[in-house]
Symmetry: none
DNA sequence: AATGAATGAGTGTTCATTCAT
DNA sequence: CATGAATGAACACTCATTCAT
């Protein structure tokens, strides 16, 4: 019977994206565990069971949210890392790119911040740990090059510096609201200024 | 009738503290919602129901963990704020005190970071919002004094600076492990150095 | 957004009524507290959790059972009270109406008898106390009118008489079984005969 | 070691009676199932576990309360039934005795009213059903004798009459408060007057 | 006699998930 | 595509009961 089609993998990519956006918003606001499927469905104007036409499970929703975000993030990062910039310029570009991602994927970033450690224990989310590792390599490498080149201080524990910069940037997702008074680029500029030169005036 | 003496309810604060320490560790590791009372009981070597001899509810456990932590935190902070130090010395003292608290109450700080926004919506945890407000006042005030005195830069958005310093410090609770290679004071020193002078070398 | 229609919550009052009838039967037989939600579900041929698709809580089940009963009861009573009958005819009509209610809502009446005092302490069940008060007013008023008119004895404590008649009628719910050898009207007739004329023969 | 005595069956009959009185009061007020052992212990000024020095179980408490009450009740009843009175005088004596028992054992009577049907299903409480049977026999016999002698009406269903008188009397336990304005004997007198002669005036 | 602490079975409730319609 | 109804496992919490001290 040619009239009965099995639902395609992407029945309507539009609706899918809408629903994921809704889910991401709720996950970010309430936390993954504390968010019920019913709540997401409410927000989407349907019943809880209906979501299962679009997604296999609640888990597959976060999965898709996070992997989509990380894919886009690494597209941007890889471009920067491949550009052959100097260490300081690389840091500037990475930070700027990060704030752009926060601007575009705020809920996903917030979920990533809050839940990734917890989720990464499951095999399905192994890519979270992978990403973390690549991230660390890229940053530590850049910082080390910078110390060697004399554009970053050599009297600091480099892992501490790494964590400092990393957290400094990403935590912003917890308070950032798109459409606020500062553009992502402006926030990046000020953050970079603080990170690079400190909050005490240079004499 | 003199026979109706209410028997004392909290006879051994010892056990209470032990159990709360266990609970805090699990809450910090798995998240409050994802932590089952059974899990805490397991870790404590008893059955789930037995916890209710000591505590009213799972909620009252986090409550006691967080309020105990905040009480101690504010003791330290108030001492610093009352000492009449200059803005820069105040910032140094507050940051150092913060890392000491992270060292002493790491699980509580981690819980606070992850759950306080969510918990603060309940009336019972109103003190979390209060604390947040006091915190912001203390920090913003100090930073403003510093800008006026010329010991902090005047070309930065002060709220951005506040968030920068605040997050930078507290997020450390997510990776800090007591007994590591750096003492809290050493970490504080390096963090302060980065925050105040930046990671680029002063020429 | 027109896509956000809230789906209707009570689409099939049918099932609801069936389930409430089942619940009422069990509550009446075992007592509200002694009845487990699992038991009701068993009787209804489903799992305990499934009941929560239809009802918010066990409490809301008794609530609906009792309030539905009282609503119908007062419809009948109000009709009688508004009919402008003499005191003796009013008493006859109220008693007859009561036995009809016992016939139609036996489980609800039994629950009301056993649990109302206990439930009425909760704000949610305030209407139980209200009903009690209205009930008392209606009866006492009728009895007083009867005494004044000389159709009821004036040598009896009127509150005692009230309790006597009230209990006499409602306790019947504890042994009455619909479909027995006497119709509600026949039982009412005999009860009225006893209450009005006594069990000793009139000489 | 002669110093260690096993607790006697009646360690201090005084205390036992006190505790049972307390328990009965709570059972009557809240219902057997809804009453926690902790609550009884609270009321008695001790901890829940301590009650188990005096009683085997919560069940054995009601057991002792109810059986003590029934023993005393039947002492009174048997005396009346053995006195060789006429049917009308027997009814008067039984009702009066009943109100005296309500006066002396109000909580026990209330418990009996509310819980006996439920408890009687357990073998341990078989005596409740036995008592019920004896009770029914005694009353039905007396009423039948009365009808035969012409001192009770012969136009009433005798089982209906039995239930009428029985319920009428015992339900009083639900509102009776010792020390009120009417003595048990006065209440009995008025009840008997209503039951025998009705609430309509004899012409 | 009574306490402090624990047990273990059970209770109401929640929630992700399924599936016939 | 979506609904209505149900499942079943898990959860926080309660409570009668036990027992060493």
């Amino acid at each position: 019977m040619p009239t009965k089609k099995k639902p395609q993998v992407t029945p309507t990519p539009e609706r899918r994206r809408e629903l994921l956006a809704t889910a991401a918003e709720v996950f970010a606001a309430q936390g993954y565990n504390a968010t019920t499927v019913r709540r997401i469905a409410d927000e989407a104007g349907m019943l809880a069971g209906s979501l299962y036409y679009h997604f296999d499970s609640k888990e597959s929703m976060v999965d898709e949210i996070l992997s989509t975000f990380l894919d886009e993030l690494w597209q941007g990062y890889d471009e920067v890392l491949a550009a052959g910039l100097g260490p300081r310029e690389t840091v500037e570009a990475l930070v700027t790119e990060s704030f752009r991602e926060i601007d575009r994927h705020r809920p996903a970033v917030a979920i990533y911040q809050k839940e990734s450690r917890h989720l990464a224990t499951q095999p399905r989310f192994a890519y979270l740990a992978d990403s973390q590792t690549r991230f660390e390599k890229a940053w530590l490498g850049t910082l080390e090059r910078g110390v060697a080149d004399g554009v970053f201080r050599d009297d600091l524990d480099i892992r501490l510096t790494y964590r400092f910069v990393r957290d400094t940037v990403w935590v912003a997702a917890s308070w950032y609201r798109p459409g606020g008074q500062h553009s992502p680029e402006e926030i990046a500029r000020q953050y970079l200024s603080m990170v690079l030169d400190g909050i005490a005036p240079r004499t």
